[in-house]
């Protein structure tokens, strides 16, 4: 089955190509289901190919598809090991569910097939990224998902805000990509190859600590761009301009996890640099609390989820920074489940409310859309970390591992705990505002439950959110054993031994979660004036949170403004005046020289006579001088 792994990438890619050329001749249903089947097929193949890993302990294989640039170790090759398998299953599985959801959500859109072209293209790119056997192929996938993100965020490109958001996402990602590229160059100069098999085994022996730190920090720059960490997270909230399935797929479950994946994959390099690891963890933790605090005060249903994504990604970075790779990847998986569910549910609500996204204009939707309400409720509990749902197990494993590390990481642990409280608070706030209380919507809206093609994926994801966590509990460390072969070269931080400590830590986390839920319920399950009072109670802090600490304005003043001025200078000052001036100047020079030379032709025979005789005289002088 491993021989058919190339189909995992080829199927969605073929779907994208097919829909690109023939999509406009197909009916909506056909193009949508075609795309969904393409990615569903990829999922099935991946499951079958991953069976050997389920027993645990199986090492990966490298499958060479095509020799591209063998001298630098950049071929089209797949590394099929447990980590890649897990990522593929998550991407393809959740992706397939989202494809199906999108058939219902995008109904009536005039460029319906184009949407699925992009979705399939994205799936192919993301699968290339996770299946890559060398950094070059990974980078190809990396860039392609960035492109698809741009295409999909700006899908409704006639909206100025959407086009601007797409541009912003691409540019900010580019900054990260620059760091990533420098890292790859460093890797290449050190090891002479970009292939994983040539690097990770030799890393321990050949890589100096300083170089490892440099590479690690540069990869972090790239990962921070792709996974929206401080300071490159600003594109993700704007990316909510894209259709909700896009937000669910790209900005919750898959693309943004690429950063976490690449750090986990490069574990052998990070293993040599405690500095880089600590930086990763610190950035993760601070991003988590920063984004969570912003999410408290958001009014748009999708913006809350966007900042929540940034926050949860912070958790993942915290985990991999603590070298608790299994915990990080575990949280990646569970986050994919409930975050995708949350986004899809939000999409269901938006669809029902005819594109209304302001939560203050919702309320009391429970009766109108029970399925959505219940599934989103499950997701809210999961992300808050209530046992025995998925989020509890993964978040708790992260917190426990961080605590066990000690030292500076204890401080990070406290941050993580506080973030858990805040997360529970704002997620519950969202759920209460949308589904409970008195209806506050406008007269012309008629909320209704979504069609089955949209609710079935919701239910599937809800089930996964409930049972998904059970694959790695302290009682059954199935996932850890599954992923072990991928991380055998590195030291991995594990949760502390000893049941009591683990239970206490877990209890603290649950307490934080319950506390957050309680505050939210009490504050918001009241008439509107009451919770407006509650919000005012925070004073100017609430406004700062709502404005996301005005980071965008800061970037605009310090980076965008000067950048634009520099561009103007280059375009009008340098290009127009200097370069065009030089070129035009040459033309002018030639013309002036011609004009001056032209004056020799006076038309008077006697002037020409002077020239003749002068020339003859010169020849005579030359001959005489030659003879002398």
């Amino acid at each position: 089955m491993v021989d058919f792994l190339w189909l995992v990438i080829a199927l969605p890619l073929a779907g994208a190509v097919l829909l690109h050329f023939f999509g406009r001749y197909m009916k909506e249903q056909l193009s949508g289901w075609l795309a969904s089947i393409a990615i569903g097929g990829a999922f099935v193949i991946a499951v079958i190919a991953a069976i050997p890993f389920f027993q645990g302990g199986e090492h990966g294989t490298v499958i060479l598809l095509w020799q591209w640039m063998p001298s630098i170790g950049a071929n089209l090759e797949i590394l099929w090991d447990p980590l890649a398998a897990l990522m593929t299953l998550v991407v393809a599985g959740v992706g397939a569910l989202i494809h199906v959801f999108a058939i219902g959500y995008m109904h009536g859109d005039e460029r319906f097939p184009r949407f699925f072209t992009y979705l399939n293209l994205f799936a192919a790119s993301m699968l290339t990224l996770v299946l890559a056997g060398n950094y070059a192929m990974l980078f190809v996938g990396w860039e392609l998902v960035g492109l698809c993100s741009y295409l999909l965020i700006g899908y409704w490109f006639t909206r100025k805000t959407a086009a601007a958001a797409a541009k912003k996402a691409f540019v900010v990602n580019r900054i990260g990509d620059f760091g990533f590229m420098v890292a790859l160059m460093l890797v290449f100069t050190t090891f002479g190859t970009l292939s994983y098999s040539g690097i990770f085994e030799r890393a321990g022996a050949e890589l100096s600590s300083g170089l490892a730190t440099a590479i690690g920090l540069l990869i972090l720059v790239g990962a921070a761009g792709k996974s929206a960490q401080i300071p490159l997270y600003v594109w993700l909230p704007d990316a909510m301009e894209g259709p909700t399935p896009v937000s669910a797929l790209i900005h919750a479950a898959t693309m943004v996890t690429a950063g976490v994946y690449v750090i986990a994959r490069s574990a052998a390099i990070y293993d040599l640099s405690p500095v880089a690891l600590t930086t990763v963890a610190t950035i993760g933790a601070f991003t988590a609390i920063w984004a969570a605090s912003i999410a408290i005060a958001q009014r748009d249903i999708k913006k809350v989820l966007a900042y929540s994504t940034v926050s949860q990604l912070g958790y993942m970075f915290l985990a991999v920074g603590t070298t608790a790779y299994v915990a990080g990847i575990f949280h990646l998986m569970t986050n994919a489940f409930f975050k995708a569910l949350l986004f899809l549910g939000a999409g269901s609500v938006i669809h029902a409310m005819s594109d209304e996204q302001d939560m203050r204009k919702m309320g009391g939707l429970f009766k109108k859309m029970p399925t959505t309400a219940i599934t989103m409720g499950i997701a809210t509990l999961a992300i808050a970390g209530i046992p025995p749902l998925a989020g509890f197990w993964s978040k708790d494993e992260i917190l426990a591992s961080v605590y066990a590390r000690g030292g500076w990481f204890s401080f990070l642990w406290i941050i993580g705990l506080v973030t858990a409280l805040v997360t529970a608070f704002y997620m519950t706030r969202q759920w209460v505002l949308v589904f409970l209380g008195e209806p506050r919507w406008d007269e012309d809206k008629h909320p209704h439950e979504s069609p089955r093609v949209m609710t079935v994926p919701l239910i599937a994801l809800a089930l996964l959110s409930v049972v998904g966590g059970l694959i790695n509990t302290p009682f059954f460390t199935t996932l850890a054993r599954f992923l072990d072969p991928s991380f055998e070269l590195v030291d991995m931080q594990l949760p502390p031994e000893g049941g009591l400590l683990v239970t206490v830590l877990a209890g603290l986390a649950v307490l934080a979660a319950v506390g957050g839920i309680a505050v939210a319920l009490v504050s918001y399950r009241r008439p509107r004036e009451r919770w407006l009072d509650f919000e005012q109670g925070f004073g100017p802090l609430w406004g700062t949170w709502e404005a996301a600490y005005r980071v965008d304005d800061l970037y605009g003043a310090t980076l965008v403004g000067p950048g634009k001025k520099a561009a103007e200078l280059a375009a009008f000052g340098l290009d127009l005046k200097v370069i065009d001036g030089a070129v035009n100047g040459v033309g002018r020079l030639v013309r002036n020289a011609g004009a001056w030379t032209r004056t020799l032709q006076t038309g008077y025979v006697r002037n020409y006579g002077v020239l003749f005789l002068g020339g003859a005289l010169i020849i005579v002088i030359w001959l005489v001088a030659g003879g002398m």
């Binding site: 006076t602 002037n607 002077v610 005789l613 002068g614 005289l617 002088i621 005489v624 003879g627």
Partner: protein, 174 residues
């Protein structure tokens, strides 16, 4: 002795004639000057034992060409005096420069001493065959250079025809 005297006289005459050609305001005076030069040069040819050439010079040049010149001067207007001023800017400057250059060249060549004054062949060495009599010149003319001879004959014919065409055509067309 005789030769030297003749040379000086004829040289003076030739130079005077040449200067007259250039300087005279009236074109007829210029023609007279040219005539003087032509005669002087013919005498110098005779001194150098180029008898046929001297005769041809007088007959053709002084006789035919100058007559033609005078005809045309009369045709065009004998009292067409030229204005003294020079209308082309800096022309006199350039000419002065050229003249100065020539003088400098001559001076350098003379003073440098690297060039020898060309001697004449001694009279004893002058062979009968180089005496420019009619018979002597006719031999190479009709043997070695007969092609050129015929070509120049053709040339003359064409020139005559061309002159008639040029001078005649205008009237017919108009």
């Amino acid at each position: 002795m005789v030769e030297a005297l003749l040379f000086v006289l004829m040289a003076l005459g030739a130079l005077a004639g040449a200067v007259t050609v250039v300087v005279a305001r009236n074109s007829v005076y210029s023609a007279m000057g040219l005539l003087a030069t032509l005669f002087s040069v013919a005498v110098l040819y005779v001194v150098q034992l180029a008898h046929l050439v001297a005769a041809v010079q007088v007959i053709v040049y002084a006789g035919a060409v100058m007559t033609l010149f005078l005809f045309v001067i009369m045709l065009i207007g004998v009292d067409l005096s030229e204005a003294i001023d020079e209308r082309l800017p800096r022309q006199r400057l350039w000419v002065g420069g050229l003249a100065g250059l020539v003088i400098i060249l001559a001076g350098v060549v003379t003073v440098s001493g690297e060039f020898e004054w060309v001697p004449a062949a001694a009279p004893e060495t002058i062979v009968e065959s180089t005496n420019g009599t009619v018979q002597a010149v006719a031999v190479p003319l009709f043997t070695e250079w007969v092609l050129a001879f015929e070509a120049t004959a053709l040339l003359l014919t064409i020139a005559a025809a061309g002159a008639i065409a040029l001078a005649h055509f205008r009237r017919v067309r108009v």
